[in-house]
Symmetry: C2
């Protein structure tokens, strides 16, 4: 293993609001101690990678609004390892710039890029998978993504269809499918050819740099410099700009207990449940005649709930949300309405 | 009118918990600004009677635990007008003692006794009704109660069946009926012979003193003295000990927009509703696809609620309660459970 050439980039710039009211504009989900475990999602992610790559090989990208929050939550992160975007430009520009910075430091580097809003249940398996992936990416001219064996026909995730096996556990990618309709998701599961796209990518810096030159020529002069010009970069994701276009894209099949904490519903799916299939993420509760319900409260708060089936009950600061948990898009609408009506007071 | 012989006794000792989490052991509903109007129920009641009898003719009875709360909320109340019970003994003993104190001060006195957990919508009509009742009670040897024309077959209230009319609006009482079953309540409404028992009583001090001597002989030596001995008094209500036994009981028919704030459900009934029959007592709300639901939040809190039909959503301090609002007895059970499980922390 060439651990000294391994780098990590943690993406911590999201403003995700589907976890409102827990996530707020001023404090998106990555900065929240979601599980009441004493660590925010960002801190959990950082700790996870500290066990895999050297401390000063971990970069964190974020938006300028969250610069202080990141430094405060990660006191061990040197300011030089923090990549700050002046403008939100989705994942491609900041990954391109991170690759440029890392290549300047170590032209042999192989890097893993990871969001920090994931739940990883099995840290040991995760570490093993990342090291195996870094090793494969170091040795091959490939863009590698981690694919998760699906446990249910989830419609909130992207899927990867696999092609031929390259070597043990590594497959060529046939196609990416964004959030499918329920009936397709069910077929995907049955076919055993489809895996959840974790959004965790691994590649040699040379390979990703070449991919940017091939598929996003216009971005290179804006990020291949000491001070990147994010403002003039296109607002585009790495998935759309590179992964869905390149022909050297591979997937590594993994099974380390993974969930994208993209929505309350996805959180519900992965959390331990009581006999009535209720999940209490956080807080004290007394539940009467409740089923399939997820509850998350601030520390020290008590909720007495009765007669709820399939609801989300979430409270944070001065906001309470009670709604059916299966409507993924509804919360976004609520937050917009709250913004319109209360002029940012609660959003 | 002999306003100078008119006295008022406000009963403010209840520990009612059916409004939990708004009411707590340390702060029952009478001490709460229920409607976010800037006044607690006790303050509203006090102000209501200040417009009817002289300020220093208003007595307040309470339990020793709430002594300071009453004096704090009613800075105009002289300490000498506060009757403090060392032990909870229901309404009969404290009313008997209040009658003794008032009779010593003014043997001609006629008094009105009122709880302070009522909602009165029409203050003008209320004042008129009380003055009419006091005048009737001053002139007759009667125990008078105010009866409210029922607007719905409420099963949470007591009813009074009327007998012959004595004079305009004043009827002899045939019988009292405690909280009836639904089918009886419906018959009561149709018959037009039944009225809600408001629990507001009016009588001459001589008349009520005589009634105590007739029906509760044992109480007299314990309260007809400077320092009453509540501890050795029986724990009994004025309704049960006197009103249901005496033969000079009358009812005055009233219609001033009255509700007993005994339960969330009764509060729901009297409050203005939106087109989906939702009631927002307090707080900012965005309601989606909600019907027949009542919401009460602390000041400055926002609730976004979706898909609730017939629920109560109440939040106060560190407690949230979401439950079906039509089960009157359930909340008492929840509070007991909370007490057992969390050792008084939230009750």
């Amino acid at each position: 293993m060439h651990t000294n050439d391994y780098y990590c980039v943690i993406m911590a710039g999201g403003a995700g609001r589907r976890f409102w009211p827990h996530s707020r504009q001023a404090s998106p989900k990555q900065f929240i101690d979601f599980f009441g475990c004493g660590q925010t999602l960002l801190q959990q992610t950082f700790d996870r990678f500290r066990q895999i790559v050297p401390l000063d090989h971990i970069f964190v990208t974020t938006h300028k609004d969250y610069r202080d929050k990141v430094l405060e939550q990660l006191p061990e992160l040197a300011a030089s390892r923090l990549i700050v975007e002046e403008e939100r430009r989705n994942t491609a520009p900041s990954i391109a710039y991170a690759a440029h910075v890392i290549e300047k430091e170590d032209p042999q580097a192989t890097m893993v890029v990871a969001p920090c809003d994931h739940l990883i249940l099995n840290q040991g398996e995760f570490k093993e998978a990342i090291l195996r992936g870094l090793s494969f990416a170091a040795a091959h001219d490939v863009l590698l993504t981690l694919g998760i064996r699906p446990s249910r026909p989830e419609t909130g995730y992207g899927y990867i269809q696999i092609d031929d096996e390259q070597e043990g556990g590594f497959y060529k990618v046939r196609t990416f499918i964004e959030k499918p309709a329920r009936e397709f998701a069910e077929i995907f599961i049955q076919s055993q050819e489809f895996f959840w796209n974790s959004g965790i990518f691994l590649w040699n810096v040379k390979t990703i740099q070449q991919a940017f030159r091939n598929y996003m020529t216009e971005i290179c002069p804006r990020v291949d410099r000491d001070v990147p010009d994010f403002t003039s970069c296109p607002n585009i994701s790495i998935d759309y700009s590179i992964m869905e276009k390149a022909d050297n894209v591979y997937v590594q099949l993994c099974d380390f207990g993974w969930a994208d904490l993209g929505t309350w519903d996805s959180l519900y799916e992965v959390m331990p449940k009581d006999r009535q299939q209720n999940v209490v993420v956080n807080g004290q509760t007394l539940l009467y005649d409740c089923q399939n319900t997820i509850v998350s409260l601030p520390k020290g708060q008590l909720a007495v709930l009765q007669g709820l089936d399939g609801y989300l009950v979430a409270s944070r600061d001065n906001v309470l949300l009670v709604c059916k948990k299966n409507d993924q898009n509804a919360i976004r609408k609520y937050v917009n309405d709250v913004e319109m009506k209360f002029d940012g007071k609660y959003s």
